[in-house]
Structures are given as C-alpha cells and as structure tokens.
C-alpha cells in the first residue's frame, strides 16, 4: 500500500513538473511583456533596464529554473497589470469561483439524483422520456449561449434576477461569501444554474443507469420480499448503491467545474479566477496566466491522486495490477 501511494505521489510530481515546463514554455512564447510595462516614450536605456530587472534577458532554461525555484517557495511573480503578487490575486478570487462551483454541484446533485431515480424506475412514462430528452439538451447546449438566454429572460425581460456581479458578501472566517445574504443569493442563482446544467444532465444519466441496474439485483428483490416499504427500498437500499459511481464521477468532475466556470464567469461578470484568467490573457499578464494554470494543474493532479488512492483502498485489485506492470 505504502509503495503504491509513494509511486503515485512520484507520478503526480512528475506530471506537475512536465506541465509546469509546458505552461511556462508556452506562455514564454506569448507576446512581449515589455511592451506592456514600458511607457510609450521610454528610450532604449530605460527599456533595457526593465528587461534586465525582470530577468527577461536570460536564456530560457535559467528563467525556467528561477521560476521553479520561486514557485516552490510559493512565489509566482508579480502581476504586470496589478503590480501585486499573482498568487495573492488568485487566492483573492478563489472563494468566488469555489462558491460558484459548489453551488452548481449542489444543484446538480439535489435535482439530478431524484430525477434520475425517477427516470430509472419508470423508464417508459412520458415524464421520464421528457427528463431524458432534456438531459440530452443539457449535454448539447453550449453553456455560454444558455447563459445569455438566461440573462435575456430572467434579467432583461422579466427583471427578476440580477445578471452580473456577486452582490453583497459577508465575511465568514475571513472569506468573503455571497451565499449568506439575500442579495448575494439572488446574484449566485443564474450563474450557478448555468454552470450546473451540464453536470445535472450527467448526474441524471448516471443515476438512471445505476437505478436500472440495481433494481434487478437480488438484495432489492429480497427487501421487497421482506415487505419493506417502497420509500425505504428506494431511499436506503437503492440510493446507497447508485451513489458509488455518482460520487466518483462528481469528485473527478469538480475540477471540470472550476475549469468550466471560466465561461460562466465571463458571461455573468462573476469576479472569480476564470474571469481573471481571461482578462490576463487579453492583457498578456504572464505571471497571472502561469499562476492560474499551475494552480489548476495542481488541483487536478491532487483530485486524481485522491481518487486513485481511495480506489486502491476500496478495491485491492487496482493496486495489485499496478504492482505487476
């Protein structure tokens, strides 16, 4: 077991290292940051002074090694635009994005599982067919267009909900959250539903597939034969067993939610990390782009690592197979 975990940790570290090289190398090629920093009327000497002070005259590999050295100490450089630590900027925006992602996850689970179970139990009713057709739409519709349509309907035509920003926030343990004020909640509604649609469709399909498999199992028949009520069979016996694939996939997909929030945040002007990334790309703000990407890489690697290790705890075959190869 320990060997397995150590091997996985080393693999994860290797992936992070390779990705850091790709990200840094890629962003290294983008535009000329000096253009952004120097005043238009600066002369050659001033330009060179700035290039030198930032170490941009050094060869690529030295710049990369410097970057790695600093990154290991948690320093990703200063933003060219905000003149602030890039890590700090990201940390500042992180709560907004995570809040949105969790709200979306919550919506996907709370609505997706009951709908999926219903569709699985009554496969031939017209309600189930409607649910399943709608879930295909949820997969096919481009998120950003649905977002725009939601703004058009709920904000412009009906005027029920605000279309942009985060609204009033409250301080919870030093983190600004908008889920606990009425104004904030009304702001989070549209973006969260928008971000949730794709995952909602997925949860519905997973729950339906799981239900259709589980209802034919012997333990369900036995529970029926024992005379348990339907509520108990569905709520306990069935529910527990369909949750295994749902939880796995949702765990893995949390990173996807954070990544996809780039789109939702842009549509709803939600001040999170994703919007920061798009703004930074437009301003060629290298340190922030690199910092964001490295943050997401680490997030993904950690999630995958946790899932892998949990799997091997639950299913010894996984790690035995790994040992053999």
């Amino acid at each position: 077991m320990t060997v397995f975990v150590i091997r996985r940790l080393m693999q994860a570290a290797l992936v992070v290292l390779i990705m850091s090289l790709l990200v840094f190398g890629g962003v290294f090629l983008v535009g000329d940051p000096v253009e952004m920093l120097v005043a238009d009327d600066a002369d050659q000497a001033e330009r060179e002074a700035i290039i030198k002070s930032m170490g941009l005259d050094l060869p690529f590999y030295i710049q990369y090694l410097r970057f790695i050295g600093n990154a290991l100490q948690g320093d990703m450089g200063n933003s060219f635009v905000f003149q602030e630590s890039a890590m700090h900027l990201i940390a500042e925006r992180m709560p907004a994005t995570f809040e949105l992602a969790f709200a979306a996850l919550f919506i996907a689970v709370v609505f997706g599982i009951p709908l999926g179970i219903y569709a699985g139990l009554n496969a031939n009713s017209w309600i189930s067919k409607t649910i399943m057709t709608t879930s295909i739409l949820g997969f096919s519709l481009p998120t950003f267009w649905v977002g725009i349509m939601m703004i058009l309907f709920f904000a412009v035509i009906m005027g029920w909900l605000p279309s942009s920003g985060r609204g009033e926030t409250v301080d919870v343990f030093g983190i600004q959250l908008s889920l606990f004020t009425l104004d904030g909640l009304s702001h989070v509604c549209l973006p969260a539903v928008n971000l949730a649609l794709f995952k909602l469709s997925m949860v519905i399909r997973l729950a339906r597939a799981g239900t259709r498999e589980v209802v034919h199992q012997d333990y369900i028949k036995f529970a029926r034969a024992k005379g348990l009520s339907d509520t108990r069979i569905i709520g306990v016996h069935l529910f527990k067993n369909i949750m295994i694939p749902v939880v796995t996939v949702l765990g893995l997909e949390f990173g996807g939610l954070v990544a996809f929030s780039v789109v939702t945040e842009t549509v709803f002007a939600w001040p999170g990390m994703g919007k920061l990334l798009i703004d930074s790309i437009n301003f060629l703000d290298r340190p922030v782009i690199v910092a964001y990407l490295m943050f997401v890489v680490v997030l993904f690697v950690v999630i995958n690592l946790i899932v892998d290790v949990l799997y091997s705890v639950l299913d010894p075959r996984v790690r035995l197979q790994e040992m053999k190869s």
Binding site: V15, V23, G26, V27, L29, V30, N124, I136, L137, F139, S140, L141, P142, T143, F144, W145, I148, M149, I151, L152, V156, I157, S163, G255, G256, A259, F260, V262, V263, T266, V267, L277, I278, I281, N282, I289, L293, V296, V297, F300, N304
Partner: protein
C-alpha cells in the same frame, strides 16, 4: 434497451418479408437506422445544414463581408425591417448593419468547416497512434496511452484555452487547438476495438501471408474497428463546433474579420441588455440546431452499430 431491441427485431422481420433484393450489411444498416423517425429527421437536417454551408454564398441574400454593400445606416434593424438596399432583413441586422441571415450562413460555413476539418485531422492522428498502440503493445502502448490518460484528465476547454493563449488568433490556430484536444478520444476508442481485433484469426492469417505491418494494420485491422469510430467521430464534430463557439465567445478563437456562429453570439451579447435579442438569439439557435441534429445522428448510429444491441 430491450424496447429498442424489440423494435429493431420487429423492423428487421418486417423488412425481410417485403424486401425482394438481397440483404447486404449496408442495406440492413440503412433499414435499421430508418426505424427511428427522429434520427431520420436528424440525418436530413444535417444534410440540409451541410448544403447551406456549402452553397452559402449563393443562398445568402447579401454578402455580409463586402464592405461596399454593408452600410452602418442599416445597423440594429429589427427582424422584418427593410435595409437600405431594398433587401428585407428577415432576422434583423447586427450592430454594424450586416444582415443576420447572411452573417449566420457565412458563420455556419466557418463553424462547420472548423468542426469537420479539425475532426478529420484529429481522426487521422488519433487512429494512427491508437492502432499502433494496440498492434505493437508493450512500451509503445504504455507511452501512448499514458499521454492519452494525462491529457484526458484535463478538461478539453482548459487545454484549448492554454493553447490559444499561446498561439494567438486565427482559423489555423483554432484548428490546431481542436486537433490537440480531440486526438486522444480517437486514439482511446480505436485502441479499445483494435485490441480485440488483434487476437482474431484473420489478423494471424494476414501476418502469416507475409503482408507488411502497415498493410495488416490499415487494411485489415482498421476496417474492423470502424463502427465505434464512426460514432465517436460524429459526436466529436458536434463537440468541436460547440467548443469553437465557446472559445470564440471568450475572444480567443477566431479573428473578428471571420466571425463564426460563436463570435456572432458574442457580438450580440453587448446588445442583449438593451433588448436587441435577435443579434445573439438567432445565431445561437442555428448553432443549437446544428449541434443537436448531429448528436441525434450520432446517438442513433451508436444504437445501430452497437453489436450488443443486435441479435
């Protein structure tokens, strides 16, 4: 699932009674496909969409990119109003005075072109790597599949974002990004079916005949791996079109001079707050129609080509 099978069985029985001609695999495939009316509608719609894209310049009422004929005087006309040159703007005009119908037809050309083009290139690359991984096995397989695994563990949109942030704007750049995002899906799909085919007798027979490796892989193994590949390719084209639209919306895909459907929607987004809904609603509906119909075809193909659902 059983309902589908019953349906298909029933259909096949009915078909063989009425059919006088010999039942070839292709005819059976077409007959199976026709069972589902919605899928037939999907196939016809995709055909029409492709026709519109192909003959776009002949159908479009005006040339939206001909600066001489587009005048700013026509900007933000409501659907049904008449433009300065006498043509009725059935779906209105955008912020620059371009007829929406024409702009959408030209946008569709770009969206479909990028989607199908990147799909074909990704297919060629992915299939080559996937087949090699399955045929040679061992180290080749491990290395290729590790790369595929790592890439698939990151969401497509993020990989594409990073690439476009570094590459810049342009049709060629967005095709590169979409190819990089998609090849892994093809590689994984084709490897899965190729691993099964590799152990079949006909591959052994072909090898014993002394055929070259390339011939065995591409002429013997590949044709037998096609069915799942066709399904994945259909779905991936829809996915690529949607992804391209999203990237263009974020301002990272195409240059403003060549607006795809996604960029048209993005342009209309500015005006949505003032209630000028048509500039982003109609291109969106066109995009939606394209993606959903392609998915309908893909869904049906999966049912028809899946051996588990057949007798």
């Amino acid at each position: 699932m059983s309902a589908v099978q019953e349906n298909a069985d029933h259909g096949r029985a009915g078909h063989s009674q009425s059919a006088v001609e010999v039942e070839t695999p292709f005819r059976r495939f077409v007959a199976d496909y026709m069972e589902n009316k919605i899928a037939v509608f999907g196939a016809i719609s995709v055909f029409v969409v492709v026709l519109i894209a192909l003959f776009g310049p002949l159908i479009a009422p005006t040339d939206p990119y001909d600066l001489a004929s587009v005048t700013f005087m026509d900007n933000k006309l409501e659907p049904g109003e008449q433009m300065g040159n006498g043509v009725t703007a059935v779906l209105g005009t955008d912020g620059l005075g371009r007829d929406m119908v024409s702009a959408m037809i030209y946008g569709l050309r770009i969206s479909l072109g990028v989607g199908i083009g990147s799909g074909i290139i990704a297919l060629l690359i992915g299939v080559t790597f996937g087949l090699c991984a399955a045929y040679f096995g061992g180290k080749v397989d491990t290395v290729i599949m590790r790369i595929v695994d790592i890439q698939l563990s990151f969401p497509a949109i993020l990989v594409a974002l990073v690439l476009l942030a570094t590459l810049g704007k342009g049709i060629d750049k967005i095709i590169i990004a979409l190819v990089v995002v998609q090849w892994a899906y093809y590689a994984r799909t084709v490897r899965g079916s190729a691993l099964v085919e590799r152990r079949r007798e006909y591959i052994e027979a072909a090898t014993c005949l002394g055929l070259s490796k390339r011939r065995v892989i591409f002429r013997h193994m590949l044709p037998n791996c096609l069915p799942p590949l066709i399904v994945v390719a259909t779905m991936q084209v829809a996915h690529a079109i949607s992804l391209e639209a999203t990237l263009s919306f974020l301002g990272l895909g195409l240059p403003v001079t060549e607006p795809s459907l996604g960029l048209l929607i993005a342009n209309g987004f500015e005006y949505i707050m003032s209630g000028l809904y048509w500039i982003s609603v109609y291109p969106g509906l066109a995009l939606l129609f394209t993606i959903v119909t392609i998915n309908l075809v893909g869904d049906r193909l999966r049912d028809v080509l899946n051996p588990r659902l057949q007798k």
